[in-house]
Amino acid sequence: MYMYDFTYRRPKTLDEAAALWGEFDSPSFVSGGHTLIPTMKNRLAAPDVLIDLRAIPELKGIRREGDRLLIGAATTHYETSTSDLVKDAIPALAALAGSIADPQVRYVGTMGGSVANNDPSADYPAAVLSLGADVVTSQRTIPAEQFFDGLFGTVLEEGEIILHFSFPIPDSAGYAKLCSQASRYPVAGSFVSRTGDTVRVAVTGAGNDGVFRWSAAEDALAREFAASALDGLLPEADDMIADLNGSGAYRAHLVGVVTRYAVENPGTAIVR
């Protein structure tokens, strides 16, 4: 399939990227392109320029700084899933990265691209929100709570570039999801992290407003960190996505199931 015509540029600096953004009418940033290129093939997006961010040094690398883990926006899922730094600090995050799509996609797709796109069924937004990461951009630092803004929406401004993610390191974390048998995107996924007395539960794939924190589950798990603490708790079915993968009630039930799995299996990603 051929996309509408466009120009491709690969700037080496943030300044160059910003200048390019101003030169075109409908620019788009791209890194792995594994969501954007299929979207362009379907002619659901038609930017006149693709500004490839992968050659910019500020977007590269994984490092540990004190009690935080910093992951560059252009880091691929493969790099995140195999990094000893990530596996040591937040093993559930490495496992989540290794559960996205398939090996070929993981070699190319990036954390920054996934989070900037905020697909309601993407995996990374659940980790970013549950762990309370900071999204560090070319202009500011945005706490995860303020970053996501509805389906495919974020608070990123025109021309603003995610440089890296700064993750606080939790005492423990776990991720679990049930995937669509066709697309392999999660129908419901839950990332549960625990730091001291604080528990944060972020749910992807299920909410009709995109990734969300399930506060009732957080309160129950903060009182007693056990799967049984979630007995009788479900999110509102009316707040769930209803589509050919399942009704709102089905998804609400699944959110309970995958959250229990995530609680019971810290340090990993359970994929069904």
């Binding site: 399939m1 120009t7 392109g33 290129i37 693709l50 398939d102 070929q104 070699y107």
Partner: protein, 160 residues
């Protein structure tokens, strides 16, 4: 149009292409290497899998301009003369193909898989790791056998 140079199976290929040209079309239409197939064209089936800078990628979702300066290996680049690669031979020995359409992608993904795991593979891992390649003929059984066969040869060579 942009001049793009990609080293394909060891030989540099320079062509003027539109920026929207996909790597798979660079390979098939400009380099004339039609062993790499376009299946679903939606990043799902894996028939277009090639190695870009040593890693298996889906060439229907990589821009040729983004691969400029890189090195690509296609299915045509695996055999040495008339001698098939171990995995190609294993597909033949284990009847790992029927119609053959998915086979180039399976072999490229399988070659990457064997290397990534140092040949230390079991059936479950092979099935899980070939998630990005779809076959509509074989039911996968003989494909998995072929990969395990070649993985054994890989291990034997490492130990030799």
């Amino acid at each position: 149009m942009t001049e793009v140079t990609i080293t394909v199976n060891g030989a540099p290929q320079t062509h003027d292409v539109e920026d929207r040209t996909l790597l798979v079309h660079f390979l098939r239409d400009h380099a004339g290497l039609t062993g790499t197939h376009v299946g679903c064209d939606t990043t799902q089936c894996g028939a277009c899998t090639v190695h870009l800078d040593g890693r298996a990628v889906k060439s229907c979702t990589v821009l040729a301009v983004a691969a400029d300066g890189g090195a690509v290996t296609t299915i045509e680049g695996l055999a040495e003369g008339d001698t098939l690669s171990d995995l190609q031979q294993a597909f033949k020995d284990n009847h790992g193909l029927q119609c053959g359409f998915c086979t180039p992608g399976m072999v490229m993904a399988g070659t990457d898989l064997i290397r990534r795991y140092g040949g230390a593979l079991d059936e479950e891992t092979v099935r899980e790791q070939l998630e990005g390649n779809i076959c509509r003929c074989t039911g996968y059984t003989n494909i998995v056998k072929a990969v395990l066969d070649a993985a054994g040869k890989y291990r034997a060579k490492q130990q030799a």
